[in-house]
């Protein structure tokens, strides 16, 4: 067991955790460093704040530098102008303003687990904290700023990363400077699974890091991976009472009050738990108050909403949470409506991360429209995008397919087909198409099938080379009519193609060997995308400008009316001009032509009780 701990309090925490995992078969390794926490002093200064924390966290020769000076140094050294703080700018600022014993360097990997192994390796070797890039999505309520740096100060793994190339990542301890201006930084202690769920590769258009996870650390001499156990993303929700009990258990079991940042938990009172993202990726915030009126929370335990598993603990400036009733009342006042038909739920947006996990938004729905209300009571006429998204390649995405590794987007305007990384949007391949009006795409395990509306034909192309392998005439159900091609899917044996023709819009099963039309069922919607998992068909149904589009699901059956009876509406989506649908085995993806994005939604239902 390796222990590299700088402060007595840190030692206590690490020791507690090590005891917890001190099973005969599982020795633990930890690095826990004393790094003071600082919030960003301007809305775009999470980079300088992280730099300041790192420089004050050196094992020897630490420096105290103003964020303003770090900002100036970053600007002088950065090489990619689309960043407020780019990796090179931060690295050079650290080297220039507070030279370390050896050096700082930028690490970027396409694999988050490999990057975290590098972080753990370096922290073990040299006891320096590291700068980690959480994502390049907007955060902190300021959408123009789209990168999120944090100071990693602690890491707990099953094995010593300097001697093990692969070992489970148990916990990450870091200072998060992205808080409301004037509030202290969040000190977050999170499970490995929670860390990975929050860490995303660079998605900034034009960046050389696109598709890569980034940290500023020292070069490791050893490569490996830190894996984390999967966390439950769906399931039956535990009750708020159970969430309270789990929070108590984790405080005791992990001895969290031994740690300076969370000592206040010792005398704190639990407040009512808050359920966030109930449908998918749900969690409970269990706030704790040291306020004599028991109104203000100053720390919180976050537990998985389905399993109660520990996700993280954080402390922050005392805040009051807005109640559901207050959010509804505020919205009703804004809209000049009665509160009766208004509903509300807490969401932590995965797309536009304008708030922290600790301070989610109230998504308030009235008359089929969703509004946002922040913890501080700020009303948002448009809810930030809650669905995770990446930028769509091309000019006019009309179709989407998944090839087991990457998404493929069909660009109607440029007549190209482009594959990209679903986590970052990084372009992988691009093939020009010798087609006049490509409208839909699907992947059958070996080939990409593409439907051309102008020539009414189907072509199969090699995804590696773009070479055309087959061509078939597009069959149209004569008695039902045809206006346009709106989607294509592969069910394992057959192609399905969606046609729009008003009330005669259809989903058509086609034999890929000869193009024969085998079945044609009414879509009962305005199809804009089609996908299958082999058992079901999913249709993206457009509902005009007044009502949000939805995804429906029906079981593939021989008899049309029996198939129709299995139809369920499973997801309301946020995109205003949706098109295309692809399934990656867990999530459904669709294009939004209005914002040129590819968005991700979870198709399943959650059992609520």
């Amino acid at each position: 067991m390796t222990k590299q701990i700088k402060s007595p309090l840190s030692y206590l925490l690490a020791y507690s955790l090590l005891l917890l995992f001190a099973q005969p078969a599982a020795a633990l390794h930890s690095v826990m460093l004393a790094v003071p926490e600082y919030p960003e002093e301007a809305l775009t200064w999470c980079g300088p704040a992280t730099g300041k924390m790192l420089m004050e966290g050196y094992p020897t020769g630490s420096c105290t530098v103003l964020q303003e000076d770090i900002w100036m140094s970053i600007q002088a050294n950065k090489v990619e102008s689309q960043w407020d703080t780019d990796p090179v700018g931060l690295k050079e600022a650290l080297k220039t303003l507070c030279p370390p014993a050896s050096t700082w360097s930028v690490h970027s990997r396409t694999d988050a687990e490999a990057l975290m192994h590098s972080v753990a390796y370096w922290m073990t070797v040299n006891n320096y904290p590291a700068a980690g890039l959480m994502s390049t999505a907007p955060h902190n309520g300021y959408t123009a700023h789209s990168e999120h740096w944090v100071a990693i100060r602690g890491i707990i793994t099953d094995d010593n990363p300097t001697t093990h190339s692969s070992t489970p990542l148990r916990f990450v301890w870091f200072n998060d400077p992205a808080v409301d201006l004037g509030d202290p930084a969040l000190v977050r202690f999170v499970s490995g699974a929670t860390w990975y769920s929050e860490q995303f590769p660079v998605s900034k258009a034009g960046s050389s890091y696109i598709g890569r996870y980034v940290a500023v650390i020292e070069p490791p001499e050893f490569t490996g991976r830190l894996v984390a156990p999967m966390q439950m993303l769906i399931g039956k929700l535990i009750t708020p009472k159970a969430a309270r009990e789990f929070a108590k258990r984790w405080i005791t079991q992990y001895k969290l009050t031994d740690y300076e940042s969370y000592q206040s938990l010792r005398n704190a009172v639990q407040l009512e738990p808050l359920l966030v993202n109930a449908g998918h990726g749900g969690y409970y915030i269990v706030p704790y108050s040291n306020d004599k009126d028991q109104r203000l929370a100053s720390s919180a335990i976050i537990v998985n909403a389905y399993s109660g598993d520990f996700q993280e603990v954080g402390s922050f400036a005392p805040v009051s949470y807005l109640s559901k009733e207050e959010a509804i009342k505020l919205t009703a006042q804004q809209l000049g409506k009665k509160t009766g038909n208004i509903s509300a739920e807490l969401v932590y947006p995965q797309g536009e991360r304008v708030v922290s996990r600790y301070f989610p938004l109230w998504k308030v729905t009235a008359d089929n429209h969703s509004y946002g209300v922040s913890r501080q009571g700020k009303f948002m006429n448009t809810l930030p995008t809650t669905e995770f998204f990446v930028a769509a390649p091309g000019k006019k995405p009309v179709g989407l397919a998944f090839d087991k590794q990457h998404l493929w987007s069909l660009d109607q305007k440029q007549k190209t087909v482009n594959s990209f990384d679903p986590k970052s949007g990084a372009l992988q391949h691009s093939h020009p198409l010798n087609l006049k009006d490509p409208r839909a795409i699907s992947y059958n395990g070996t080939d990409l099938w593409i439907a051309d509306q102008d020539e009414r034909k189907l072509v199969a192309i090699n995804p590696q080379t773009g070479e055309q392998r087959a061509s078939l005439p597009l069959p149209i159900p004569k008695e039902k009519g045809f206006n346009s091609i709106e989607g294509m899917a592969w069910d394992g044996q057959h192609l399905w193609i969606a046609y729009f023709a008003g009330f005669s819009s259809t989903l058509n099963k086609i034999d890929p060997a000869n193009g024969e039309l085998l079945q044609s069922v009414f879509a009962d919607c305005h199809p804009k995308g089609l996908e299958s998992d082999g058992t079901h068909l999913w249709v993206l149904c457009y509902n005009g400008e007044s009502n949000p589009a939805v995804i429906d699901q029906r079981k593939i059956m021989d008899k049309d009316h029996e198939m129709l009876r299995t139809r369920q509406f499973i997801k309301t989506i946020e995109g205003k001009a949706p098109s295309g649908l692809a399934y990656d085995g867990q999530y459904l993806w669709y294009n939004d032509q209005q914002k040129n994005r590819v968005l991700r939604v979870f198709p399943g239902n959650t059992t609520r009780k």
């Binding site: 089929n368 008003g502 005669s504």
Partner: protein
Amino acid sequence: MYTLTKATTLILLCLTLSLLSGCSKYAVLISTNEVTQDNISYHSEWWYDLFLQYQALRDNGFDDEDIYVLYGNGNDFNTIHNDYNANLKYGHTITDMAVNKANIQSIFNTLSSKVGGRDHLYVWWMGHGGGSGPGSCNLSMSISNTGEHVTDTELASYINGISNYRKRTVDVMTCHSGGMLDNMDIAGTDTITLTSSTCPESSYSISTTCNGRPHAEFHYTIPNALREQLPCGGAVASDTSLNGYVSLSEVHNYNSTQMSTSTPQIADPDSLATSTELKRQQP
């Protein structure tokens, strides 16, 4: 005093006779699907359009007991929109029976003994349609929830099973619904047929309605014209003759000027549309 009593009795007798021999207005509303979700285009219309048509007929003097509604599994859709909820609006549900081929035939059989020579019969159909044959004019209408089909010939046969009537209105909203016209366009049958499209055309939903809810365009404009108002209450100038009544030719003219997605059709072999005003006691 004796004379006065006799006269009063005579007047009452005449009134009673007049009522007994007066006309009724019957309607059969057939919506061939089942809605499970609000605000879905090409889905929710099966209830929304049905409700608007029922409302229009009631506003035009049709009694509830003379309106036969076949829809879904036989139960009203429990919509979130209170103003499209029959229970809230009328204090009762409006669906009489599930929609299937046997029930459709049955309802026309029932009406054949009820509808009399002074009565008006209004037949309304909403659903999917396929067009085949010359000009795509052979219409086959789907009953989506059962997988059954009713051809234009079959529907005409069901309707013609009611032999006693004064006038008939047949109103069909399906793709290729123009295929119904040749089956009903027969002089001497006193029938006015309105369809949402020509034989080769599809029919479409719109969501640019006053309340943002999806409606088949044709089955949005017809009830609006008949009620002379939108579902949200705005006035509709369908009574262009300004006589206080909306004729079926005014309905068709209103459809023609308002609709943009398909071409509404009318067959009026006996030139009755101009004088057929549903709101009148005897249209």
